[in-house]
């Protein structure tokens, strides 16, 4: 069930009491507005503030502390400032592509949020090819960066842009193969089903816990995925596309005002998107060990209606976002820990290490599924223990 259908439940009530229906299109657009404008963009903004605070903590500074309590309004002030700045372009810039490029970046980074399963009922579009959609739409970001850099008529931008394109394009392969090793295990491409597969195993209910712990090969591939996702988002230690020590500011040298703001926001949205995908695909989505949130019941009632579905949904969303927040913190942590790679090291890491490793792990994961009929390590242990008990 997707978010639009979830809201569409209102239609039944309206049809009975008022006598008309709201077209599904409205709910569809509304769900996009909720996820993109009310979730992805504000959270991307807050993340820029949190990143500055985390950076300040790592370097024993105070960080932003002027706007609002603890400086929490900083991202808002930054947004207004960038909104009111002059939008400059070089006199030889290719204005058509220059204006088109930011659309590609936001379509890639924010459009992919459609398939992120925040809870059992809150997902933008419950596609049966969800993870494939995310990988496909996510790669639009590199196109946007390359087009923006190419059209801005600046040598730094051009070099940063081709670097970014080569890097993002190369790391897409280990990323895809790492995801494939989970697809083999789960036997589905839909995000909702991928998460459903990761429930805590019970006697009657199937489920093989989080995919990371399904078999050792997927465990290795999770780290391959995470490294490749860092490179996809142009984050340190892979931020060669905007290496300020070599390329001034890389692909965004010529961007000013809100144009720069949009690129920065889309990049952070990309980080959040990849962390959410990692949580949904590898780290069990909203599932926790030793329990099933879907069976949570408190018995609270309002006007005779049970509050449980609402509480369950809230619990699922907070578990999902909590896991994603931990990953986002790790991304920020890595930024202040590791130095930047050299461009030849970057290519070597991808083509000579990550791709062979992920290939071998994909093969291993496939063989595991074949050998153990798709059972994970935890299921095997359970099975072994219960059969041992049966023998006595």
């Amino acid at each position: 069930m997707s978010l639009a259908e979830f809201m569409g439940g209102i239609n039944g009530f309206l049809l009975q009491n008022v006598g008309f229906e709201i077209p599904f299109l409205i709910f569809s657009i509304l769900s996009a507005v909720i996820v993109v404008l009310l979730f992805a963009m504000p959270v991307g903004g807050v993340c820029t503030y949190i990143e500055r605070k985390v950076a300040a903590d790592f370097q024993e500074r105070i960080g932003p502390n002027r706007v609002g309590p603890l400086g929490i309004g900083q991202f808002f002030a930054d947004g207004i400032k960038m909104f009111l700045k002059e939008d400059l372009a070089n006199k030889n810039a290719d204005m058509f592509i220059y204006n088109l490029a930011p659309s590609f970046v936001t379509a890639g980074a924010l459009g992919a949020f459609a398939a992120i399963p925040f809870s059992k009922h809150v997902i933008g579009a419950n596609l049966d090819i969800g993870i494939f959609y995310v990988m496909a739409i996510g790669s639009l970001v590199s196109l946007g960066i390359l087009l923006g850099a190419w059209s801005s008529d600046n040598k730094w931008s051009l070099l940063g842009g081709v670097r970014a394109a080569a890097q993002i394009v190369s790391y897409e392969i280990p990323l895809g193969i790492a995801v494939l090793s989970v697809v083999v295990v789960a036997g589905t491409l839909g995000m909702q089903e991928l998460v459903d597969m990761q429930a805590w195993p019970r006697d009657q209910m199937p489920g093989h816990f989080w995919h990371v712990f399904h078999n050792p090969f997927v465990f290795v591939n999770f780290f391959v995925f995470f490294i490749a996702a860092l490179a996809e988002c142009n984050r340190t230690p892979f931020d060669l596309a905007e290496a300020e020590s070599e390329l001034v500011s890389g692909f965004n040298t010529e961007f000013s005002g809100m144009r720069f703001g949009l690129y920065a926001l889309a990049e952070f949205a990309d980080v959040i998107m990849f962390c959410c995908v990692a949580v949904a695909v590898f780290l069990g989505g909203w599932h926790l060990p030793f329990m099933n949130v879907e069976n949570l019941s408190t018995g609270f009632q309002v006007f005779g209606m049970s509050l449980d579905p609402l509480l369950q949904t809230l619990a699922m969303i907070s578990i999902f976002l909590g896991k994603a927040a931990v990953l986002i913190f790790i991304v920020m942590w890595i930024r202040w820990t590791l130095p930047r790679l050299r461009v030849d090291q970057l290519m070597n890491l991808c083509w000579k290490y990550l791709i062979p490793i992920s290939f071998v792990c994909l093969m291993g994961s496939t063989l595991w599924v074949w050998a153990f009929k798709g059972q994970g390590m935890l299921e095997l242990v359970n099975h072994f223990m219960s059969s041992g008990r049966g023998g006595h």
């Binding site: 996009a32 659309s103 379509a107 924010l110 494939f132 895809g176 290519m347 000579k352």
Partner: protein, 156 residues
């Protein structure tokens, strides 16, 4: 399911419309005082030299070509491996495994060939690399000598 794809399309359209929309709205608020200095490309304050469309390393092109092959391969593997679990439970897992990994194995051989040939190395040839290293070393020695002589002059 078609409805779900429509949902996804509304997401894509909304997020693609955001930048033009925001830039168009901010046009009413932002100043615009262009002059010749602002419209020049940024080159660290120096006068602009030629156009921006300079030659760059053709390795980028090679990487793009190798990527194309591998990306098509990953995209092709998605449906095959999606069905793998099902076919294992049906009892013809080995068939699908051989089918998928024949394909994968040939591409893996291709990757090994590329690596051996050195198309993926940023500095392709060993001679070129050692020449570059020697050049670097000569430069560092020059700098060290200069620093040394400066220090001696300072001591005098």
């Amino acid at each position: 399911m078609l409805q779900e794809f429509g949902n996804a399309l509304s997401f894509i359209i909304l997020s693609a419309m955001l930048p033009p929309l925001i830039l168009a709205i901010s046009k009413f608020f932002r100043p615009s005082y262009p002059h010749s200095g602002k419209l020049e490309p940024y080159e660290c304050g120096e006068e602009v030299e030629g156009t921006a469309y300079v030659m760059f390393n053709n390795r980028f092109y090679l990487v793009a070509i190798v990527f194309l092959v591998f990306d098509v391969e990953v995209a092709m593997l998605f449906p095959v491996l999606k069905l793998f679990r099902e076919s294992v439970l049906n009892g013809d897992g080995l068939k699908v495994f051989l089918l998928a990994f024949n394909f994968l194995f040939i591409l893996l051989l291709g990757l090994i060939y590329e690596l051996k040939k050195g198309d993926i190395d940023w500095i392709k040839d060993a001679g070129e690399r050692s020449a570059a290293l020697q050049e670097d070393e000569g430069y560092f020695q020059k700098v060290a000598q200069k620093l040394k002589s400066n220090a001696e002059r300072g001591a005098e």
